[in-house]
Amino acid sequence: MKNLNTRTLSAQDLALLAKELDAVRARAMADVGEKDARYIRRVVALVRYSAFAGRALLMLSFFPPAWVLGTLLLALSKIVENMEVAHNVMHGQYDWMGDPSLNGQTYEWDLVGTSDNWRTSHNFMHHTYTNIKGMDDDVGYGVLRLFPEQRWKPHYLFQPVYAVIFALLFQWGIAIQELRLGQLFSGKKSKEKFAEEFAPVKRKMRQQVFKDYFFFPLLAGPFLLPVLAGNFVANGIRNIWTYSIIFCGHFTRDAEIFPKSVLKDESRGHWYMRQIKGSSNLEGGKLLNLLSGNLSHQIEHHLFPDVPAWRYAEMSKEVRAICDRHGLHYNTGSFMKQASQVTWRILRYAFPSKTPSAHLNEFRAESTAG
């Protein structure tokens, strides 16, 4: 949807915007060093200690508060590993350290999906083609209609229900996203090709299931069931949390969607502007920053995906000032505000709606061509 708070920028404005944002990035990168290394290692230590404490407490589940605390600690460990370590490390934010355990190309995360698939669908497609309909798969993940520019189909009427199921099973959705099952069902992808792509995912899924639903429960002996349940709930909490953070980052009321035509000869300045218009921040302080892997600063993350994420909070002051100067809307709000706007989109666009006028022609051209 075209945002009325935002003015149209000329090519000259965009070049200036790029220059100013490049300067913010350069200042941050010049300071990157020991502080960042110490920070990420402390976060890794938090992941390890909370996982250990959580799993240990779950073994003592005969005492109910131990089950609750154990489950919450395990969920905390899984959330921080996923958001602040894995997501950011895989963007190459800590590649400069030369530490193989924090290398963006080889890091393997604690999720059923493979890191390799994520590196394609997220780092490349989503970050390069942010909020471009038909290019950025994260726009509804192929199952949800979140923008009026997406053509309505009757099955979207059920999306308020399957959006909830999707949230609960989010890591499984991420795991199969890059497999593109739609192509298999429509016959565009051969069974052999699918089997080849599925092999590493299958291995990863089995390993994760083995760890959380066989190994640790069996290790608990008589407390097999409470440990199984605790692991299940911890994975569920993480699913809902990551789903919420990601959806709040791109599908709030003022977040914009773009047609493929913007890609033609796109300048660096325009790419920057698209990141600002397509992303939204969450205000909530240090704890929210940590638990969201600093995706509470989704705008800064999209502008500077390879800058160590804990620096976004500091950088956001300058970014916000630059946006104000250029008359660009800086989309930010509390978690509750942004989450309710996302929920509204899921409910509203389950029903038919008119395509808005802003990009009407471009989107219409695509619809007839496609």
């Binding site: 390890r48 190459g92 400069w96 193989p100 355990s101 590196r119 780092n123 994760q208 760890k211 995906p305």
Partner: protein, 354 residues
């Protein structure tokens, strides 16, 4: 993790339950040298070797590879959060400890850290040994030519050669007394072993007569019976190439190693050599051009995505050489684990793990 394990099922289950990184995290808490597969060593003592060199005694863990006399290892240390590697000549000590002698280089990050900041108890990584300057078959008379810190590989070579009882001569060029390393150890070796002749050549002594830099008549005067000699030389580039030329002139077998100097940046457009380790290819590409497209033009298809420095898909390890970041114009001389090919241009010959 993707290598074929001895027992696939065990490896599958182990990977599932605890990653190598998680294992290392906990193992390090128990003992700083414990690791799943990292070749680590701990500094157990440190003593000055000359006015600007120190010897570090290292206790290795079981993953540190064995080396032979004359080889080098890349020693990695963490400075300000970043891993840096430099090559040093290791030698074994009695109790299986390893010694390296480090000469402090003006402006050198690693040598300065090792000489000034490093402390007993610090951990360094010792990567796989390399280098060709080892005793091939035992020559009946080995001539070792060392200049400055080029002495470091020779101490272990001399000790190895001494066991054969064959003749050897060391010509060791230094600036003055204070800059000479291992003088005590070398003197003792020479006294104990009549087959070993030692010549310390000072080019700028505080007192006494200055020796010349390496030339033919000097070697002929110091080493009698040159006919049966094998030559080994180590030192700065100019020294080693002069030694090689002299050996050729006398048609003597020769092995030499020069310190690699910081590579000079090529002019934009000038061709540089790109060595690709995994695909075992060497390509000539114009410097200054984005590496991704330069490699593609040369027929290589590296993995890539956005082509503008966002997605990190094309990042690959750079082992050596200088590159420039096209967006920031910053030059990078160090080895890096993730060089983004799409926004990097070569400034010198490069070695990529691609």
């Amino acid at each position: 993790m993707s290598t074929v394990p001895p027992n696939q099922a065990t490896s599958f289950l182990l990977d599932a339950v605890i990653s190598a990184d998680a294992f290392d995290f906990w193992a390090r808490k128990v003992h700083p040298l414990w690791s799943c597969k990292k070749p680590l060593a701990q500094i157990v003592s440190k003593h000055p070797e000359s006015e600007d060199a120190v010897t570090l005694v290292l206790k290795p863990n079981r993953h540190v590879s064995a080396f032979i006399a004359g080889q080098h290892v890349n020693v990695s240390v963490e400075i300000d959060g970043r891993q840096h590697s430099r090559s040093y000549s290791p030698r074994y000590l009695a109790n299986n400890h390893i010694a390296i002698t480090v000469k402090r280089i003006e402006g050198g990050k690693v040598s300065t850290w090792l000489c000034n900041q490093s402390q007993r108890g610090n951990i360094v990584q010792l990567n796989d040994p390399f280098g060709e300057m080892t005793l091939k078959e035992h020559p009946n008379h080995a001539v070792f030519l060392a200049a400055g810190s080029g002495i470091t590989p020779f101490l272990s070579l001399i000790q190895a050669h001494a066991k054969t009882g064959q003749r050897m001569t060391l010509l060791y060029w230094v600036r003055d007394d204070a800059s000479a390393c291992f003088t005590e150890a070398l003197t003792q070796l020479a006294q104990a072993n009549p087959a070993f002749r030692l010549h310390l050549l000072m080019t700028e002594p505080k007192d006494g007569i200055a020796s010349d830099r390496i030339h033919l008549a000097q070697i002929q005067a110091l080493v009698p019976d040159l006919v049966h000699t094998h030559w080994y030389a180590c030192g700065p580039e100019g020294f080693v190439s002069t030694a090689a030329a002299l050996a050729k002139q006398l048609s003597r077998p020769f092995l030499g190693e020069a310190f690699s100097l910081p590579e000079l940046a090529a002019n934009p457009g000038e061709h540089v050599q790109i060595h690709l380790l995994k695909s075992r290819k060497t390509l000539s590409v114009p410097s200054g051009e984005p590496l991704l497209s330069a490699l593609e033009n040369a027929g290589i298809q590296p993995a890539h995505g956005c082509r503008r420095g966002i997605c990190n898909t094309c990042a690959c390890p750079k082992n050596s050489g200088t590159t420039r970041n096209i967006l920031t114009q910053e030059e990078q001389h160090e080895a890096v684990s993730g060089l983004r090919l799409c926004i990097s241009a070569a400034c010198s010959d490069l070695t990529l793990d691609l």
